[in-house]
């Protein structure tokens, strides 16, 4: 089962990058134009294009890149000539840390709120939680991020507005630069998890086996947090797989707002400047991450639900 999942990585990556490459080519502008600058002459641009290899037929350009990929060579940026692979390696940990932190925030906030909501169905508390989660869903993360920067960083001065301190330079400092990005990025995901948990718990709490638990006089806490939750988590985990992909996408914008040196910023620049080796490279890595996360989700199903193992 694991192998089957990993085997989908390759074709998905190829198809994904092909799509990205085609989209890249379809939009106006080019790397040569961007590198040459606004005052360049058409001849200068043409020369640059030839140097960059951009005048070769499209399939050839793509093929060359793909061949390079098989050798572990992500190619070089068309604009600054830097090794894409190296650049990604440097920036990847930042994005990963941010995404994971956002996911953790979503789970730590969402699951308990969902359980609380389900146990007090139709009460005012339930309504409040549903309302707040509705806001969380509606407000785009980057907007929340900008608000947060404005209030928390600029007006209150509690945290630095931009910049990133890696863990290697101290956990405390790292957390200071991580907190706001993670919280804002995770807000939408937390809302989703809250609702999903609530829905799943409500369904499980109505099931015959939970009625058995009540009839047996099992301690209430055990009924909710042990016997009901494990069943509810199955559908929550499914959502986590979907959220992970969305988080990667939203991470891009958050990195912009907080000026974090992650892959998101790298990607935005590459797209605007038509730097396709970079775009492709980042795409491949994103695809790999999403597939990996979904693989983990599949594994957790098997751990949580014995019926799947048979």
């Amino acid at each position: 089962m694991l192998l089957r999942r990993l085997a989908t990585l390759l074709p998905t990556a190829v198809v994904g990058t092909m799509v990205v490459f085609s989209l890249d080519q379809l939009t106006p502008g080019g790397a040569a134009e961007a590198a040459a600058g606004p005052n360049a002459t058409p001849q200068q641009i043409a020369t640059l294009r030839h140097e960059m290899g951009l005048d070769k037929p499209l399939p050839v350009q793509y093929g060359t890149w793909l061949a390079g990929l098989f050798h572990g060579d992500f190619g070089r940026s068309l604009l600054n000539r830097q090794d894409v692979g190296a650049e990604i390696t440097q920036r990847l940990p930042v994005t990963i840390e941010l995404t994971v932190a956002a996911l953790v925030v979503a789970l730590v906030v969402g699951i308990p709120l969902g359980i609380l909501s389900a146990s007090r169905r139709r009460s005012r508390l339930d309504g409040t939680i549903l309302g707040v989660s509705g806001l969380g869903l509606a407000i785009p993360e980057f907007l929340l991020a900008m608000l947060a920067v404005d209030i928390v960083c600029l007006k209150l001065g509690w945290l630095p507005p931009t910049g990133w301190t890696p863990i290697s330079q101290g956990l405390g400092a790292n957390l200071q630069t991580l907190v706001l990005p993670a919280l804002t990025l995770g807000s939408g995901a937390a809302a989703v998890i809250t609702r999903q948990t609530r829905g799943a718990m409500v369904e499980v709490l109505d099931s015959p086996f939970i009625r058995t638990a009540w009839a047996l006089g099992l301690p209430q806490r055990q009924i909710y947090f042990r016997f009901a939750l494990r069943n509810a988590l199955i559908s929550v985990i499914t959502v986590v797989g979907l959220i992970a992909a969305a988080l990667l996408g939203a991470a891009v914008l958050i990195e912009r707002v907080f000026v974090l040196p992650g892959m998101g910023s790298m990607l935005v620049d590459a797209v605007t400047q038509k730097d396709f080796p970079v775009t492709q490279g980042v795409t491949v890595v994103f695809i790999a991450i999403v597939i990996l996360i979904n693989l983990l989700v599949d594994i957790s199903y098997a751990i949580l639900d014995p019926r799947i193992r048979s």
């Binding site: 086996f209 009540w214 006089g217 014995p306 019926r307």
Partner: protein, 362 residues
């Protein structure tokens, strides 16, 4: 005797109706110095919120069970028999209102707070349900659930609880108990799951077992084994059993006494042998007529035309009146549950007339 009876394979002839009831309950006013039965329900009323209104579900419900006795509660869909069980356990939806009295081992359950009641559940009352596989948690092993049931009311270490779990599974007749503990509910058959449920229900020493249609979803050969088990537990461990069923044949085989329910009321109650041989209420008679007799093949028995009234739409007088072949003017008045013989009660104004007619022969 034919070959099969000589096989000696635990061939116990199960009599159609269990012998005389265990110590009939006499009203205190009759001067009995006897302790009251383990479970005494008196004048129980239940209303539930439905679509914004309070709908009466149970009306003036009374029954009692001694330890070691099996009481059958018989009724069709909508008669309120499951609600009776859930009322005793107080496992009712929010907004439910109970009136009357439920006394368990001398203690009034309706006086208890929810927290106190939750201590009673499992410890003094156990319940088993209709679909045994669905009634067990699918993502936990049988062992985990059984151990949780044991430790809920007893202070045992995990290993002691496991040992007790094995013992309990053996008591309910589950072969290879050690292995079963490690299995999941979906790996067991319906009959095995029901045995596990019974083990969980009696794990903490409950003296009252409520069984709500426990064999309806099981094959008939397995059903037979389960009711043997229940009878054995009742008699050997002196457990009072409330056995809910729509199957009169099953009730005849298992129960000492029977209560017949219809539209939230008790219409007749008494010893099984008497009630099933000489029913006093027209509904009981009609219900008995529906039960097929295997000896008359190819003869279709009549049912009861119409259907029971839905909760909240019950007529003022006798609730069975619209479907009763003996309905008369006096049936329009609210009917009371009256004693006809020592332990035989009926809610019908025409009961005497009907009984007399029986004697004359039809």
């Amino acid at each position: 005797m034919d070959l099969l009876s000589r096989s000696g394979w635990g061939a116990t002839a199960m009599s159609t109706v269990l012998g005389r009831p265990a110590q009939p309950y006499r009203q205190a006013s009759a001067g009995g110095g006897r302790p009251e039965p383990y479970l005494v329900v008196s004048g129980l009323g239940l209303t539930l919120p439905r679509n914004g209104q309070m709908v009466p579900i149970l009306d003036d419900l009374s029954l009692h069970i001694e330890q070691g006795e099996v009481l059958g509660v018989v009724g069709e869909s909508g008669s309120g028999k499951t609600m009776t069980a859930l009322s005793i356990l107080r496992l009712l939806p929010r907004g439910a209102r109970l009136t009357g009295s439920i006394r368990l081992g001398g203690q009034e359950l309706l006086d208890l707070t929810e927290a106190e009641m939750h201590q009673v559940r499992g410890a003094r009352v156990g319940m088993i349900f209709q679909e045994p596989v669905a009634a067990l948690n699918p993502v936990f092993t049988v062992g985990a659930q059984l151990v949780a049931a044991i430790r809920a009311h007893q202070d045992l270490t995990r290993s002691d609880a496991r040992a007790r779990a094995v013992e309990l599974l053996r008591t309910v007749g589950l072969p290879d108990p050690g292995r079963r503990l490690r299995q999941y509910p979906h790996e067991l058959s319906g009959g095995m799951c029901q045995r596990v449920m019974i083990a969980m229900a009696i794990a903490s020493g409950a003296r009252l077992l409520i069984a709500d249609e426990p064999t309806t979803a099981l094959d008939v050969t397995i059903q037979d084994e389960i009711i043997r088990l229940i009878r054995r537990l009742a008699v050997e461990s002196q457990i009072a059993v409330l056995f809910i069923s729509h199957d009169l044949g099953l009730v005849a085989r298992l129960c000492h006494r029977v209560v017949v329910m219809y539209a939230g009321q008790v219409l007749e109650s008494g010893p099984a042998s008497e009630l099933l041989r000489s029913p006093l209420h027209p509904y009981t008679r009609a219900l008995l007529r529906c039960v097929p007799d295997l000896r008359t093949v190819g003869v279709v028995r009549r049912g009861i035309p119409g259907s029971p009234p839905l909760p909240g739409t019950v007529p003022v007088g006798c609730r069975f009146r619209p479907r009763c072949e003996f309905a008369a003017e006096l049936c329009a008045a609210p009917q009371q549950l009256r004693p006809m013989a020592e332990d035989h009660h009926v809610r019908c104004a025409r009961a005497e007339w009907l009984a007399g007619r029986e004697v004359e022969g039809r």
